[in-house]
């Protein structure tokens, strides 16, 4: 099966956004990660950042160093030559210990109709993929959550979520690495530091990593 054509559109005047699909799924995301790796290796002049999304790869550039149209042609050629991208480095599996004691745990139990044990089993019982990094330093969007745990974001986001909070919203789960505002449901906490500005790299998780949550202190 030939890979579908990517759509390339401008994002502002200093970025190209390549859309590889229209749905969140692991296979498409593998291609997103592989295409991002391909573009990174090509080391095209003037490129500032390569940002994978769920279905997109965005390439930002310095317009003083790169000709926008030439860069676009370069990206089209890369995709045409190697539509599957570069094989991604073997993904790492990381374990995140969790105390399931979050302030929204009761509410999640009520709204989903699940027991405490069921929530813990269903949240910790699967391996998640890191789809995206963004929103705040070190914040990783992990998917997919067990559908029985699916809830929309909170109506009123908190102005401050404590660092290390383990949260769920939609079909995603995440750990808030720093104290930031947040609208997801807090079901637990981890003492694992996901973001340390002085570390190299500062963020623990990378796009494409596999993550398991391990209940602590049970």
């Amino acid at each position: 099966m030939t890979a579908p054509e990517a759509r390339i559109l401008p994002l502002g005047e200093e970025a190209w956004i390549l859309t590889l699909g229209d749905r969140i799924d692991a296979a498409l995301h593998e291609r997103v990660v592989s295409v991002a790796a391909l573009i990174t290796r090509a080391a095209l002049p003037g490129v500032r950042e390569i940002i994978p999304g769920y279905t997109t790869v965005t390439v930002s550039f310095d317009s003083a160093r790169a000709d926008a149209s030439e860069l676009r042609v370069g990206l089209e050629r890369l995709l045409a030559d190697t539509p599957a991208g570069l094989p991604a480095p073997p993904s790492r599996t990381l374990e995140i210990p969790v105390q399931y004691d979050g302030p929204d745990f009761e509410e999640v139990a009520e709204r989903t109709g699940l027991s405490r044990t069921q929530i813990i089993e269903r949240h910790s019982g699967r391996v998640y993929r890191v789809y995206l990094l963004g929103f705040a330093p070190g914040f990783a969007y992990l998917g997919e959550l067990d559908p029985s745990l699916e809830l929309p974001r909170r109506d009123s986001p908190r102005t401050r979520v404590p660092p290390g909070s383990v949260a769920i919203a939609g079909l995603q789960t995440a750990v808030y690495p720093l104290a930031t505002p947040g609208g997801w449901h807090l079901i637990g906490t981890t003492s694992l530091r996901l973001f340390a500005p002085a570390a190299d790299p500062p963020a623990l998780l990378r796009v494409g990593d596999q993550v398991r949550f391990v209940p602590a202190g049970l």
Partner: protein, 286 residues
Amino acid sequence: MGGAMDPESLTIANLLVGNSPGAAAIEWALGPGVLRLDEGTRVAVCGDAAVAVNGEAGRTWHALTVGPRMELTITPGGASRFVYVAVQGGIDTPPTAGSRSTYLPAGMGGLEGRRLRVGDRLPGGGPGGVALVESAPPPVRPREALLRVTVGPQAERFDLTAREALYRESWTVLAASDRMGYRLGGPAIAPRERATLPSEAACPGAIQVPDDGQPIVLMPDGPTVGGYPKLAVVVRADLALLAQCPPGRVVRFREVSPGEAREALRERASRLEDLERRAIGEGGSP
């Protein structure tokens, strides 16, 4: 992301005191205040404000000499939201992740990752360089801001009336606007379908429109990825113009091509490079 809301004014303030354009300075978004300088140095205040050194009126967009233990009084006028205060040698707080900039959402950088408070002491950098110009003209910022935008990647999710409304209507900068994003008041221009997109990269200047149809323009501290549809993107050369609009100011938009947007950026860069050459010559102080 991160950095000054008005990088052009910051650059000019730095160049006037002999710093390189990227030296750390103060982004003043407060009411009136006083800075006391322990040691004499050169200072520049760039923005809409009245300035005095030990009670004697000084000029903005000019290098000022401030003697030891003298007081610099800054009284913002309100026409611009941010005033930049640069000192010779720059401000020497410890860098985080390669920058001295403050990123408030994560409490990182700058001085303890927070806004400055009365009583704070800021370390100055070394002696710094010498500026060869005394003053510089402020960037031209018309009061009736007409901001250039390029078409956003999700523009086709909005029907024609919504897209036309973006360009036809006047938009008011709302009070709930900050370094993460500016909210604009005006007619609702929601996208056709109310579904969240899979998150993808966003950028400062992106005009996101959530389900309520009220546009939000992302600013330097805004999220780097998001799932709201992007109708248009404010060109980089005009983002500072929007950033400097106080709440209540009205803006309008007009569409340009990405090529025209890059040309505007080139023109701005060329102006600032020219000032840099005149102010600190080739290869100024770090």
